[in-house]
């Protein structure tokens, strides 16, 4: 990443209401802190084997998430990838239900059918978590097509990682959205690593926002460690989309830990890790709020305790929630019931077994 992008700072609230701006920062901090504590609690539950499968955390992405989602209206749609717990929580979904999904329980947002990578909530218009890199990009494009078809004023936000920009579906989708003037913001969360492969090693144009040019799509890059800068950049992107012109926003972010909980990230040098910690967006915003005299250390601690209470309650809620009954295994194969669907458990025969010979004789 270029030093210029790193040094991006929020625009001063020129002549604006300093108190309102401070309250906004406090709100950002509270939300970022909740994501941070939620993901740390998630990592703990994973290492305690309460959570199965893959588990990708948003640690380091908090400022990006909060800045992005601030710019959305409740009626807008959000499609994300498999690193989405923080998006679900910040979108306003009850953390209890997000954690219950991680635990695979019936109270989970996807009723235990999705897990970490597949969070979905119709009410909050989070239309998935998707586990296949790039899979959500055509889907989000189609959601924007549906909005355009109906003449609605909602927009779609579609987030993805830096690695996704090399997938064919990314290019096909951006082309369609630009051709058809769809109300969508594509967001690249560039944390500079696709698993362990750097952007430079995988992308011939490592300044990823420039790929919008191939589709004559407006695009920008923003410092993802600064929630205010992200929110400001997202507002521009969202306004464009609402006017029927898609937008590509690159948010330069960080991944504080490995690709997933189990990845020790040995491909990173000690210097890199030290640099990451120095740029951690959560303590950075705390320091800024203290330096500006907005929050005291005591208030920071109280906010932290509140966040910890929420995530602890979420873990307890998840633990107490029931696992799905095995009798529900065939409940969600088809939305429209159909004959001959074959709801069989692995040991079941296709047809009733023939009677045993002694039964035939008797």
């Amino acid at each position: 990443m270029s030093p210029a992008a790193r040094s991006t700072r929020p625009r001063a609230a020129a002549g604006g209401d300093a108190t309102a701006e401070h309250q906004r920062l406090v709100d950002f901090y509270r939300r970022m802190l909740l994501i941070r504590r939620f993901e740390e609690r998630t990592a703990r539950a994973y290492t305690q084997a309460h959570i199965g499968g893959y588990c990708h955390l948003n640690l380091g992405e908090e400022a990006a998430i909060v800045g992005l989602l601030t710019a959305l209206e409740p009626t807008d749609y959000l499609f994300t990838n498999y690193r989405e717990h923080g998006y679900a929580v910040d979108r306003g979904i009850d953390p209890n239900r997000v954690m219950a999904e991680l635990y695979g329980r019936t109270d989970g947002v996807s009723k235990g059918w999705g897990g970490s990578m597949h969070m979905f909530d119709t009410a909050h218009r989070l239309l998935g978590g998707y586990g296949i890199v790039g899979g959500q990009v055509p889907l989000a494009t189609g959601a924007a097509l549906a909005i355009e078809y109906r003449g609605g004023r909602e927009i779609v936000m579609c987030t993805m990682g830096d690695g996704t920009t090399n997938i064919g579906a990314f290019h096909e989708s951006l082309n369609l959205a630009a051709l058809w003037h769809l109300p969508i913001v594509y967001v690249i969360i560039n944390n500079r690593l696709g698993m362990g492969t750097t952007v430079e090693a995988s992308s011939a144009e490592p300044e990823l926002f420039r790929r919008g040019a191939a589709y004559r799509m407006a695009s920008a890059r923003v410092d993802g460690l600064d929630p205010v800068a992200v929110a400001a950049a997202t507002e521009i992107a969202v306004a464009s989309a609402r006017d029927g012109e898609p937008y590509l926003l690159e948010v330069v972010s960080e991944r504080l830990r490995g690709h997933s909980v189990v990845d020790p990230a040995k491909y990173r040098t000690e210097a890199e890790v030290a640099d990451l910690r120095a740029h951690d967006p959560v303590p950075a915003l705390a320091a800024r709020l203290v330096a500006a005299g907005v929050l005291s250390d005591e208030q920071l601690e109280e906010m932290d305790r509140a966040a910890l209470r929420i995530v602890e309650e979420a873990a307890q809620f998840a633990e107490a929630s029931a696992s799905p009954d095995v009798s529900t295994l065939f409940d969600y194969t088809y939305a429209t019931p159909v004959d001959n669907v074959g709801a069989r458990y692995p040991g079941d025969p296709l047809f009733p077994p023939a009677p045993r010979p002694e039964e035939v004789e008797s």
Partner: protein, 337 residues
Amino acid sequence: MAIMTYRQALHDTLRDEMLRDERVFLLGEEIGVFEGSYKITAGLLEEFGPRRVRDTPIAEEGFTGAAIGAAMLGLRPVVEIMTINFSLLALDQIVNHAAKIYGMFGGQASVPLVIRTPGGGGQQLGATHSQNVELYYAFVPGLKVVAPSTPADARALLQAAIRDDDPVLFLENLALYNTKGEVPDDLPPAPIGRARVTRQGRDLTLVGYSRTAHVAAQVADQLAASEGLDIEVVDLMSLRPLDRATIVASVRKTHAAVVLEDDWLTYGIGAEVAATISDGAFDDLDAPVRRVAMAEVPLPYAKPLETAALPSTDDVIAAVYQTLDAVGRRHVKVGHD
């Protein structure tokens, strides 16, 4: 009641469904200005405009995925993929997304999507344009796959597919577009997931779908006339769900079966039908189940090679004779040896 081609039945049904339901729209390559590679959508752009008849770039993954996303928001897109060969470019969107979204999110979003696409070989189109890979989709829970063989079934199943809340792969066939049949004016949607016995018989069951259902009927008629054989024909109509009960009931009556398929033999549709018969009619079976399928090669261009690779009527007749020989109760007026 009208006599019409399979092509006309598809066209009229698309038009009627678009008139009936504002949520129904079409998208695909060359369906608008060009009026469709096989002219199924002729005239529809003019009538409905580009909002509802949407020409797409050559981007199967992108526009199929976009149709899935539009379906998630409640529209009812009908995608045309020019041939089933090209659907492989959209495989991730169909298999990993369309088929998964309803279940993976606990039933919160359905995908009322239809993908229309023709299979078929035999026109010297070479290896990449002559495949019949409907099996790839029939393999996947969450998808429904229908394969009508007649204009009436095409209409009834396309109506059902468009009104269904699940993703439906609607298999057409290049060789069927010009075939004709009666289509009742007030034909209701056909239930997906049911096969039909299209010809009653006692000596042997021929199983087919799409184009091969015609081959089966033709062979049955021919052998009835030439040898007095009484062959039953089962038209699968739906590949997922598969109507196993109808197949098994037929074989319990005839005690022998030959399965016709346009795909490759190994792991094919016929393998599933044969396994079904083994499970459901083992004690009733008097001979092994035979399958007649495409030779297991990338289909060559040169005509003699192509012809040799594709299942012919003679191949089916030979399989019927051999099966009846194995049964040991063949009662043929004229020998074939």
